[in-house]
């Protein structure tokens, strides 16, 4: 297959599968508009669990391996304190990036 063919087949298949994931529950949402309590318990845990799973690896294994001696750990801890205190995206971005840039220079 040509490289162009490989490219577009990959794009279409990756996109189709991703859309299936996105539509999975939204597609049948009219049947679960009022979910039972057991399901509500589970759904309520999705945001904290998924977002923490996105955040923590970026702080403690940025190079693809676990390392607590690199600057992103410290920048992450300080940014976490700022995020809890201010709940502000731009302030947290500014402080977190600034701390990391300074530590990278040391």
């Amino acid at each position: 297959m040509t490289e162009t063919g490989r490219l577009w087949l990959t794009i279409v298949l990756a996109g189709a599968g991703t859309f299936v994931a996105r539509i999975s529950f939204l597609g049948v949402a009219h049947r679960i508009a009022d979910p039972p309590i057991a399901l509500q318990r589970i759904l309520r845990m999705i945001p904290p669990a998924a977002l923490a799973a996105l955040v923590l690896p970026a702080f403690v294994r940025p190079g693809g391996h676990f390392d607590l001696t690199q600057p992103r750990v410290v920048a992450g801890v300080i940014a976490t304190a700022v995020a809890f205190w201010t709940k502000n995206v731009l302030v947290t971005l500014a402080v977190g990036m600034a701390v990391l840039i300074v530590l990278d220079q040391l």
Binding site: F25, L26, A49, A52, D104
Partner: protein
């Protein structure tokens, strides 16, 4: 008299700082496709049809490195499997909308649209405002992603290596994470989700780390919730 802010405008306002944080990521997504030899059309194809940054970069990397199509596609699917969780979390809030509208909402579903909308709904959003707020968040993010992809494909990233802009993405997720931690069960969910993702990645399953870590966190949080309040709703 003050008029209430329209929900889509509120959504767009809440999105703005996050969209800024995503700009470098979009530039990289565009530039990576061009550097791999796939041109502007490949870059835009990925960003319009797949519309999920981490999976785009992984697929481009694998495909241009000579991997089989199946490997690139399965990796992208695995990385985007987390969207199933977001779809499930949003479903009860948007169940009153038509199938067509829910389909459109699904297409623009992202980490950020999910996180901002869920937090907004938790504060109490009338039925008729919910999809409007969601689209107010998701559509600007979509436009931002397409624009930065094209820019990155045309002019490259032009970002000095000394500036660690990739760190902006987890910092945005961090601010989105904070309001979702409300009580002991959600603390458990976040702690187990984060630590679980690190463990799964260390075990060599980096592409599955987010979804497997999150599933562990959801299970632990739901169990803690049930132990602490077995009868409460």
């Amino acid at each position: 008299m003050t008029e209430a802010v329209r929900p889509e405008v509120q959504g767009a306002r809440d999105t703005l700082p996050i969209a800024i944080g995503i700009i470098p990521f979009g530039l990289v997504a565009g530039a990576a496709a061009v550097e791999a030899g796939y041109g502007l059309s490949g870059a835009v194809g990925f960003s319009v049809i797949v519309f999920a940054g981490a999976s785009q970069l992984a697929a481009i990397d694998l495909l241009s490195g000579g991997s089989a199509i199946a490997v690139a596609v399965l990796t992208a699917w695995l990385i985007n499997l987390r969207m199933v969780m977001y779809s499930a979390a949003l479903a009860p809030w948007l169940g009153h909308e038509s199938t067509r509208r829910r389909g459109a909402a699904a297409y623009v579903l992202t980490d950020q649209a999910f996180a901002l909308s869920i937090t907004h709904y938790d504060k109490g959003a009338p039925l008729e405002d919910r999809l409007r707020y969601y689209l107010g968040v998701a559509v600007p993010l979509w436009l931002n992603w397409q624009a930065t992809t094209i820019l990155g494909a045309l002019v490259g990233t032009k970002i000095p290596d000394e500036i660690p802009l990739d760190f902006a993405i987890p910092l945005c997720f961090l601010v989105l994470l904070v309001p979702t931690i409300k009580d002991r069960p959600t603390v458990v969910a976040a702690a187990v989700g984060g630590v679980g993702a690190v463990f799964v990645a260390e075990a060599g399953l980096a592409d599955a780390a987010i979804v497997l870590g999150a599933l562990a966190g959801i299970a632990a949080g739901a169990f803690a919730d049930w132990r602490l309040s077995p009868e409460d709703p």
